[in-house]
């Protein structure tokens, strides 16, 4: 009995490779690439546990155990930055995750083809304006002395000027809205591509059943692009600890620092005073660990709820 099963297995394995060897051949080169370019440099993470001294070798000089982890775990500034990162990311996710989906669906509903193409192209353009310039323009719009927003508030409502860019109350809102503006069209491309793949007979069937536009979107479009939505959601959840560093840095002022100091800006400032690779590596490792946990968690949750996941 036992012997027989083993035989069956070997036969199927043989057969299996006879059938699929080409697929394995295909992934050979990319796999090699991953091992060389993505995995080999990971040895660098030993620096989180070793002391790096500039000019004395890339892998550090001696083992220091968890010294660097202890340093940031014990640092209230780190935990504040950690909390700020999470809050800003979550707000950003809640608002800026659905918007590109809605945008893509609406673009897809434009009947006039030329208009549709123009909207598609133009909405993708903000992605290309350098963050420095975006923040500079924003600073001008929101300036307490010369900004159009404050002038309007004053003329129309007689309100006092607000220094938006320096007020911690407005920092998160501004960050999130700038993100909406910069990335909606860019991210929507993915959903537009997914919508392209929906067979049109599904819509025809829905029309025959008497569904109006809104119902078609609810019962045809969204379910059809659900796998894409879920994959994007999982990836986004995994990236909760990484925010637009440059943007935050440019918007950072001492007055809003209590909410605007994120992990990346803290590491940056620490690095300015004293280039400390080991400390930065330790924080990077910690962030990576959290990212992996978040992805694994959301992936299994997604699989249980919708049947879709990344792996």
């Amino acid at each position: 009995m036992r012997k027989k099963r083993k035989d069956v297995n070997t036969i199927t394995t043989k057969k299996y490779f006879a059938r699929y060897w080409q697929l394995y051949l295909m992934l050979l080169l990319p796999l090699l690439y991953f091992l060389v370019f993505k995995y080999a440099p990971m040895i660098g993470n030993v620096l989180a546990f070793r002391r790096y001294r500039p000019g004395m070798g890339a892998w550090g000089t001696e083992w220091v155990g968890l010294t660097y982890f202890r340093r940031f775990f014990g640092d209230p500034a780190f935990w504040r930055a950690f909390r700020n990162t999470l809050i800003l990311s979550l707000i950003n996710l809640v608002i800026n995750f659905p918007i590109p989906i809605i945008f893509a669906i609406l673009v897809n509903e434009i009947r006039h083809l030329a208009f549709k193409r123009v909207v598609q192209t133009v909405s993708y353009m903000p992605r290309f304006i350098s963050t420095v310039v975006v923040i500079a323009i924003l600073g001008e719009l929101l300036s307490p002395s010369s900004g159009i927003i404050n002038i309007l508030r004053e003329r129309l409502f007689g309100l006092e000027a607000i220094y938006f860019m320096n007020d911690s109350k407005y920092f998160r809102m501004i960050y999130v809205l700038v993100d909406t503006w910069q990335y909606t069209g860019w991210t929507a491309i993915i959903y537009l591509a997914a919508i392209t793949g929906i067979p049109s007979d599904l819509y025809e069937a829905a029309t025959i059943d008497g569904a109006n536009k809104a119902q078609q979107i609810m019962f045809v479009t969204i379910p059809s692009i659900m796998p894409t939505i879920m994959v994007m959601l999982i990836l986004n959840v995994g990236r909760l600890l990484s925010l637009g560093f440059e943007k935050v840095l440019l918007m950072y002022t001492p007055d809003n620092s209590m909410v605007s100091d994120i992990i990346d800006t803290l590491v940056y400032r620490t690095g300015l005073a004293n280039q400390n690779y080991s400390y930065a590596t330790a924080i990077g490792l910690f962030s990576g660990l959290i990212g992996i946990v978040l992805v694994a968690g959301s992936n299994s949750l997604s699989k249980r709820l919708t049947g879709d996941g990344i792996y």
Partner: protein
């Protein structure tokens, strides 16, 4: 689709082949000495291989230099990587000092201790002696008593920026040029009264420019560009020690003064973010602001664009505060040349160092880096420099025109700065102000000495510095705008700074001078 794919594959392969054919070839010959060099490139002054200065100097010292031109914004990243890994480092790196990470790199053997090779740098030694700045140069030694770079040298520091005011308005309102901060306050008051919608005093590039130019009159220098680089400590020039400037009475008096300006609408409320050059010019040119702390070079541009009749900006000597009339402290040494350790392994290392020394520090060549070549850019008439008409009459001014067209006066390549010689490149007014400032005595104090840390101490100091600096910036801004009351909240602030170890931080510096 398949066709496109095939074509693109073909394309890739062709390009790949052409790429791999471009191997690096190194020729060996008896000709000029060859070496590679990192150059920090500023976008306002883009490097040109064929600048007169660059070609002429190479010719005179018989060198063939491979310039690696790296944008300034990313220069330190590139340099840091080259020095940290040691591989692929160039032979020479310009625009470096041994502050911060470089100190650790130097002490751990990544840089050549150039002070060990004194006899190979005769020109540098001669200039140091000429200027009488041996002590200033000796201050650059690290903990092991060695110096790891050839700094740029200055005989007398420049007064290149300071208080800039609308001179036409001073006249109009019958005011005298301010000599003290109290007089400045009165002037700004009058400006505000006559121009109620303006914020008379504005800032350039964030408050740091204002702070670094004004704080020394109170005997402190703090913040992002504080003279010592510690952010929260200041140097006591009499006791020759560091003290916790951020919690001193001097600072309390300083911030009270500026809070007063802020509260009365005399100071631009847009203090927190960087105000870039354009916005700054806009405020001044349109009369939204009437005074500023900025640089002399920038006056011309604003004046040229303003539509206000009679618009005239003028720069004034440093004002007196409680600690006397002092401007931003300056060093008589600047960023200079380092040699990565690898370079010392070259067979011709001696010749290389000698060539570099001659190239940048000899009287002849340092004059070229400053003025260009005699007979082409200038002539000597009765011992005086006279620039050729093309430069003299150029619309952008002598200084800028020499920079852009010939590569003169770039702080990356000019290593020898003689104040009087520099003044020939500016208008008489600028020279007059500099003379005036020089006559006032010790307006521009020396930069306080760097603590001599090894890399472990530097790490300790670094981990104290960031939280202290963060807290200071936050409180400073709050005091300025009045969201915290200077009298009521001062003790809370001081105790927070003490909890963060400001006294320990000062001691760490004082113990390692």
């Amino acid at each position: 689709m398949k066709k496109t794919l095939l074509i693109s594959l073909l394309l890739i392969m062709t390009v790949a082949l052409t790429l791999s054919a471009q191997g690096v070839q190194e020729k060996k010959s008896e000709g000029p000495i060859k070496f590679s060099l990192y150059y920090s490139d500023n976008a306002t002054l883009p490097f040109k291989q064929d600048w007169l200065t660059v070609t002429e100097v190479q010719k005179r010292v018989n060198a063939d230099v491979e310039f690696e031109v790296i944008p300034i914004a990313d220069y330190q990243t590139k340099v840091s990587l080259a020095l940290n890994t040691g591989t692929n480092a160039p032979d020479v790196i310009l625009y470096q000092s041994t502050k911060g990470e470089n100190a650790a790199l130097a002490l751990n053997g990544a840089l050549v201790p150039i002070s060990d090779y004194k006899e190979w740098t005769p020109h540098f030694n001669a200039r140091v002696k000429e200027f009488g700045i041996e002590e200033d140069v000796a201050q650059l030694n690290l903990k092991d008593g060695k110096r790891y770079f050839l700094p740029a040298l200055f005989d007398v520091p420049f007064y290149d920026g300071g208080l800039i005011l609308r001179e036409d308005l001073l006249k109009k309102y019958n005011l005298k040029a301010p000599k003290t901060y109290d007089e400045l306050y009165d002037v700004l008051k009058v400006f505000k009264k006559n121009n109620p919608s303006s914020y008379p005093l504005t800032i350039l590039a964030g408050p740091r420019v204002l702070y670094r130019m004004t704080m020394p009159a109170w005997g402190i220098s703090l913040g992002k560009n504080g003279a010592s680089g510690t952010n929260t400590l200041s140097w006591d020039y009499e006791a020759k020690r560091y003290f916790p400037g951020a919690i001193s009475e001097e600072y309390k008096s300083y911030i009270s003064f500026f809070h007063k300006l802020y509260a009365e609408g005399l100071l631009d409320p847009e203090m927190a973010e960087p105000i870039d050059g354009d916005k700054w010019s806009q405020k001044l040119a349109t009369g939204k602001s009437l005074a500023t702390y900025a640089y002399y070079d920038q006056i011309g541009g604003v004046t040229a664009t303003s539509n206000i009749p009679g618009f005239k900006l003028e720069m004034y000597p440093a004002l007196a505060g409680p600690a006397g009339a002092h401007h931003q402290p300056k060093s008589k040494t600047g960023s200079g040349i380092v040699f990565p350790y690898k370079t010392s392994k070259r067979a011709d290392f001696e010749q290389l160092v000698k060539t570099v020394d001659e190239m940048f520090f000899s009287t002849e060549n340092s004059t070229i880096w400053c003025l260009g070549v005699e007979g082409i850019t200038y002539n000597m008439k009765g011992g005086k420099v006279e620039f050729v008409p093309e430069i003299l009459n150029s619309s952008e001014g002598i200084y800028k025109s020499l920079q852009v067209k010939y590569g003169c006066g770039s702080d990356v390549t000019q290593m020898v700065w003689v104040n009087a010689r520099e003044m020939t490149k500016y208008d008489a007014n600028y020279a007059r102000i500099n003379k005036e400032v020089e006559a006032m005595g010790n307006v521009i104090q020396a930069i306080p000495p760097n603590a001599k840390f090894d890399d472990r101490q530097a790490e300790d100091a670094g981990s104290l510095q960031t939280p202290l600096s963060d807290a200071f910036e936050r409180w400073n801004s709050a005091f300025l705008t009045g969201s915290k009351d200077i009298d009521r909240d001062w003790n809370a602030y001081v105790s927070e700074m003490k909890n963060l170890g400001i006294e320990k931080f000062a001691a760490l510096y004082n113990d390692n001078l």
